[in-house]
């Protein structure tokens, strides 16, 4: 459980930061006529987001989230800042309770 949470958290933060850099540095540069930065960072974000998808998916299964909640988790990596907000939401709402319920062993829940 902890490994899954950690993977998700790491990817959420990395993806979130890269996306912010892409949007708030890359796009202005692109508009100003220097598109290469946005292109390169864009490709990087694309790769990172795929990894994020897998990690977020695994977490959603571990926490037995509903379909709607899973969709929110998966799409969080597409909107700047959303990654961090969703990570906080997931931590408070699902992760901490799940860990409190079985801190020393894998939760026997769904």
């Amino acid at each position: 459980m902890h490994a899954v949470v950690l993977r998700y958290r790491v990817m959420a933060y990395i993806t979130g930061v890269v996306l912010i850099v892409l949007c708030f540095v890359g796009i202005p540069l692109q508009i100003a006529g220097h598109p290469t930065f946005a292109n390169d960072v864009g490709v990087l974000h694309g790769i990172l987001y795929i990894i994020y998808l897998v990690c977020a998916w695994q977490l959603s299964r571990k926490l037995a989230l509903t379909n709607g909640q899973t969709v929110i988790l998966l799409l969080a990596g597409t909107v700047p800042i959303m990654t961090f907000i969703v990570e906080r939401w997931a931590t408070r709402r699902f992760i901490n309770p799940a860990i409190a319920a079985a801190p020393s062993a894998e939760p026997v829940s769904r």
Binding site: I50, F94, A100
Partner: protein
Amino acid sequence: METGGPAPQGTQATAPVWRFLITPRWLGWHVLMVLSFWGMLWLGDWQLHRALAGNGLSWAYTFEWPLFAGFAVVFWAKTIRDEFRIRRGGGEVPEDAEAVSVAQSLPAGLGTAQVQQPADDADDAELTRYNAYLARLNEEVKGTHGKRHGFR
């Protein structure tokens, strides 16, 4: 209670398990999945044409969108498979994690109209987990040293 149709699975099922797949909620998700799948393939195709027309970055998207479409199919299949397991395995049929937590938050005396409650041992397991959760929350709030326990 016979509701017609074979119910070979589970000890608590009063209707075939797969019926949940055709509830309005799940039908909505099916539709969304299908639309997303074709939408993503269309986007990939769009990017393919852009790439062929000279936009280099579009090559990345040309492969990324079908990959996402594939993810969606795999994720959806696994979600449904998990849902079958949950419904067959425990006999408890919570609609979603929220329903479970709501059910658990009722005081012990209330909420006994749980028609789909599992057998007693599973019941006790839920109760035990919930009690452990409460105990830890209590400890967290009024810990012996007064400090909040962080992420363990």
